[in-house]
Symmetry: C2
Subunit: 258 residues, 2 copies
């Protein structure tokens, strides 16, 4: 019997993305790896699941290595659900998602397919980590992330994670020598200021492209945004109990049942 941990790897950029290929390489040095990832890009899918359509799985080989791989036609959250319930013989010891091409810090966590896959694993009771690099390009350089991915993964396997907690790790787009280390952070209170680019198609019909600027008005030095701007890897513990417990007392004073 192997004593190596069983590691489920997924992402939201699709199974052929350089980010997940790099993540698989690191995970192969740590455990037995099964990859179940979307067959096409799923960025911005949030925690979408496929309930009105069918799902397809395909066993495939993308590059060399001991990992077992499947592509799935669904969302990142679907990939985790089908991996755990249909593909794997036992619950994995860890689920890692990414490495995302682009930031999932601050409010981006709620739009992120990468983090929704990790959160879905957390819901299923599996320790989970989402990794993201602050470079949206397909040709992003993941070299500097590798030792940090390895360190964080080994610490999670050694220490475990509290029930209902998932790690959201973001890497600044810097060389190894420039990265100052890992900082435990809270999610910055920042958000997108949307702009819609309105155009007219050749048939005369108007349409819109969503775009926008990221605005951070949170001056805290304990935030993920601060860490990333100052050369650190940010690590935010994330939970899926969304209850705003601090509001319950106030709400109980409202006139709701007169």
């Amino acid at each position: 019997m192997s004593k190596r941990p069983l590691i489920l790897v997924t992402n939201d950029d699709g199974i052929t993305a350089p980010g997940i290929r790099n993540l698989i390489q690191v995970m192969n040095t740590i455990g037995d790896v099964v990859v179940v990832a979307p067959d096409s890009p799923q960025s911005g899918m949030g925690h979408a699941i496929t309930i009105d359509s069918t799902l397809h799985l395909e066993r495939l080989t993308i590059d060399d290595g001991p990992q077992i791989e499947y592509s799935c036609s669904g969302t990142p959250a679907d990939c985790v659900k089908i991996a755990v319930n249909e593909i794997l013989d036992r619950k994995p010891d860890l689920c890692v998602s990414g490495i995302n091409h682009g930031s999932n810090s601050s409010i981006n966590v709620i739009y992120s397919g990468t983090m929704s896959a990790a959160i879905e694993a957390g819901v299923e009771g599996i320790p989970a980590i989402g990794f993201s690099l602050l470079d949206y390009s397909w040709g992003a350089n993941f070299e500097a992330t590798k030792t940090y991915v390895s360190t964080i993964t080994k610490q999670v396997l050694k220490n475990g994670l509290a029930t209902g907690v998932i790690l959201n790790v973001n890497f600044p787009n810097l060389n190894s020598e420039e990265i100052k280390g890992i900082k435990i952070c809270r999610q910055a209170k920042a958000n997108w200021k949307e702009k819609f680019d309105k155009r007219t198609n050749p048939m005369g019909r108007e349409y819109y492209w969503l775009s926008g600027n990221f605005v951070n008005l949170d001056g805290g030095e304990d935030t993920d945004e601060w860490a990333l701007e100052n050369g650190y890897v940010s690590l935010v513990p994330v939970q899926f109990d969304l209850t705003a417990h601090h509001c319950i007392q106030t709400l109980n004073t409202w006139d709701l049942n007169e």
Copy 2:
């Protein structure tokens, strides 16, 4: 100048769903209503946003009433973004989403298009409420929900909501006489035990349908599940700061930067 509040109404079941038609009726008695809702059902879309495709808006009239209505080709979160940034002249005083055909209690909040629309409004700094009825059918009866929807909406307009807090309201599928009142709750620690129904298509290719059973192992009497099972309307304050603040101290003891 009108002193009536400006209310943005949206949902995830699509602009023609009986749930949103009932919600519009109630909101017309409280304020000036603008509806921006998906042109087709978007259940299970989580917090998906449309970043790789275009969006269409269409001004339309579905039934009588003073409300102004637009259908949008995007997700529930897209509807809120485009309403706030393209359609409305000023920030609405309130955003209400629903009434969803089906439960968004407990863990369902993270998969819910209804709640993601409300949460998106919260991110934009707008007080917001998501309403859901525990009846998935298109022919669900929303009559008993109306006085509660009105009461909760008026209390939110009167008292305001703390920054970053959104209300998640679920109605049991009961008659008015059977409903015992409103209970402020926390999100129950429950989840889905998935089952994949594996089939073979006429061309011999295998495919899957996602299904499953909802399992609640949380015995607390302060949860939304307990309230709903015991005849109450559940009201959970929800936040989009996902930071698991209680874990930060422990994580700072890990060997991450040796």
